[in-house]
């Protein structure tokens, strides 16, 4: 008898709960939440499928070459000796990507930091609005137009007016020796430097803007000049700036079209920055549509894509974590 009462009470409590859930007002909200939650999961599906599909396409190459793929230095879809089998190694591509991205950071980061400081510390507000718009436009120009400009405007200029004096001054260093070529690793790095400026400068500017006023006021009150105040701002926003630089690196590593058009597309372990080269991204853009046979050729290109995918994910997650920490610390200080 007691049991029956308990069961019936339990059942009625459940039906009451269900009634509340499906009552007119609540059900709309819950359905809404479920639908939008379902849609937002697209990002998991896309990233998951991306790893799965690109991993699947590169499986043949992974199986054939294993880890050798990462440090091999030959790229022969059709070997000169017909009896030999095709061989693929990505080390020169990784080398090309590293060197061009390195040049891009070396040239692009100081300029970006200068811009960020000018916009956040020095320039008057009205001026800032217009100029940051111009710098953002630099990010809006398509990669292929950068490439076109690189081929027909930048390369002739560099080849005639910049590279010869550069070589005569720095020619004692091995990396500035050899024949000067317009389409080269250095040209690629310079174009990339221009392309990362909007990214790095915009994020650094936000980081500097997030530095609490009290920090600036404290140091100015001690009689510091504007530059000395800026030094405090920079050191306060240090980790955020590092995050911005890493995001810029991510952009440089993944940039495809512009660099394909100016780097000269030659598979070799170059030793001079005036040599033509290849990057991970540019070899895919340049060879993918022609890589019909053998099947392992296209699989090797897909594996290059897989390396890029993983590289981009790691760089991004790393940068986000640093920026997230930096802005959180800044916000915390503001509250105090």
């Amino acid at each position: 008898m007691a049991n029956q009462v308990r069961i019936s009470r339990f059942l009625s409590s459940i039906s009451l709960k269900l009634k509340t859930i499906f009552s007119e007002k609540l059900s709309g909200d819950i359905i809404f939440k479920i639908i939008t939650a379902f849609v937002v999961c697209n990002v998991f599906v896309i990233l998951g499928l991306m790893v799965f599909e690109i991993g699947g396409s590169s499986w043949l190459s992974i199986e054939t070459y294993g880890l050798r793929f990462l440090w091999g230095t030959t790229w022969q879809p059709v070997p000169p000796d017909p009896s030999a089998s095709p061989s693929f190694g990505a080390l020169p591509l990784i080398w090309g990507t590293l060197v061009t991205s390195g040049i891009a950071l070396l040239l692009g980061v100081p300029v970006s930091l200068g811009i960020a400081l000018a916009l956040s510390e020095y320039a008057p507000k009205r001026f800032t609005y217009f100029v940051s718009f111009l710098v953002e436009l630099l990010a809006a120009i398509p990669s292929v137009v950068y490439g076109l400009w690189g081929i027909f405007v930048l390369i002739p200029f560099l080849q005639n007016h910049v590279y010869p004096p550069l070589q005569s001054v720095l020619g004692f260093l091995p990396m500035f020796q050899g024949t000067i070529r317009g389409p080269s690793v250095l040209t690629g790095g310079i174009v990339l430097a221009v392309m990362i400026i909007p990214t790095v400068s915009a994020i650094s500017r936000d980081v500097f803007a997030a530095v609490p006023r009290s920090q600036r006021e404290a140091i100015s009150a001690l009689g510091a000049t504007k530059w000395e105040t800026s030094k405090v701002v920079i050191s306060y926003g240090r980790s955020g700036v590092i995050g911005a630089i890493i995001l810029g690196l991510g952009r440089a590593v993944g940039e495809t079209m512009a660099i394909t058009m100016v780097i000269g597309n030659s598979f070799n372990m170059f030793s001079s920055v005036f040599d033509p080269g290849y990057t991970l991204a540019s070899i895919v853009a340049n060879e993918f549509t022609e890589a019909s046979s053998p099947p392992v050729y296209i699989s090797a290109l897909a594996e290059v894509g897989l390396v890029l995918l993983l590289l981009a994910l790691v760089i991004n997650i790393f940068a986000r974590l640093i920026i997230w920490r930096a802005t959180r610390i800044a916000a915390g200080a503001e509250m105090i």
Binding site: D29, F32, L49, I115, I141, S230, I317
Partner: protein, 278 residues
């Protein structure tokens, strides 16, 4: 020189270096815009916009199919990307504290910085290996690049809607979902449209993913499962041509039209948004 004068001088030097950095960054921008305008202007006329694409080296013709192809591929990409992006953004803004929201936000940022060529390989592996080089594959690649941008800008736009507006609707007894879909969304309309337009501007210029999906063609649009021409691809093809006198001006002409479209969208967005944030 006294210590104070030295510090003053240092300050001046650093200030001029900062402004110089600004000037250095604007040189490429000005140079790209000017060169495109000067070299492109000679190629552009009505025929150039409406005529079909000739083979490399053949004078005359235009880039009509490329403009058509870009509009179609970007259009389909927007049809896929905008609803998904906006609804994702609504979730991120409305349920911002949930674990799902913070994870999705994080991955969305990672996806928006994915190299475009990787997205191209993905769409190739997913679609092209099944149905061949096609408009659909290109549109899917571009929509993947669009979704994270629209998602995050929608989220930010909704967050800017004042809480009082939402509370006013809720106080009248409007259910929450209805409040969001009518009152909040219309308050965030401007920001969301900005995000969508900027995303469209961004994907219109993408080349690498199209190279691996729609392949490129010289002909007018012939079906969703066929290859198509696109403006960025035409710029690339013309620029690689050995016929300098015939094809290079066409590359500049095509890039002038592309820049015109993209900068037009950017400037329009600035103008529309100005009264709100300017």
């Amino acid at each position: 020189m006294s210590n104070y004068a030295l510090r003053k001088a240092k300050d001046k030097i650093m200030r001029s270096l900062a402004y110089m950095a600004l000037a250095i960054a604007l040189i490429p921008l000005v140079s790209i815009l000017l060169e495109t305008a000067i070299r492109g202007a000679s190629a552009i006329n009505i025929d150039f916009i409406v005529e079909r694409i000739p083979p490399l080296g053949q004078p005359g013709g235009g880039i009509g199919p490329a403009i058509q192809g870009t509009i179609i591929v970007v259009g389909i990409a927007s049809l896929i990307g905008v609803p998904i992006g906006v609804f994702s953004g609504i979730y991120l803004a409305e349920f911002r504290e949930t674990k799902l929201a913070s994870t999705a936000r994080f991955l969305s940022d990672a996806l928006s910085n994915m190299p475009s060529i990787v997205v191209g390989i993905f769409s190739w592996a997913l679609i092209v290996t099944v149905i061949g080089w096609s408009v659909i594959a290109g549109a899917i690649a571009l929509s993947i690049m669009m979704i994270p941008v629209v998602t995050r800008t929608t989220e930010e736009a909704i967050k800017l809607v004042p809480g009082t507006i939402r509370e006013a609707a809720l106080a009248l007894g409007v259910p929450r979902w209805k409040t969001t879909l009518t009152v909040v969304l219309s308050g965030a309309r401007k920001g969301i449209i900005t995000g969508i337009l900027l995303a469209i501007a961004r994907i219109s210029g993408e080349t690498a993913p199209l190279l691996l999906t729609v392949l490129g063609s010289r002909f007018w649009f012939s079906g969703f499962t066929d290859p198509t021409a696109a403006l960025p691809l035409s710029i690339f093809n013309f620029s690689q041509s050995p016929y300098s006198g015939v094809d290079w001006p066409k590359a500049w002409g095509a890039s002038m039209i592309l820049i015109f479209m993209i900068l037009g969208i950017n400037i329009m967005v600035r103008y529309v948004m100005r009264d709100k944030y300017g």
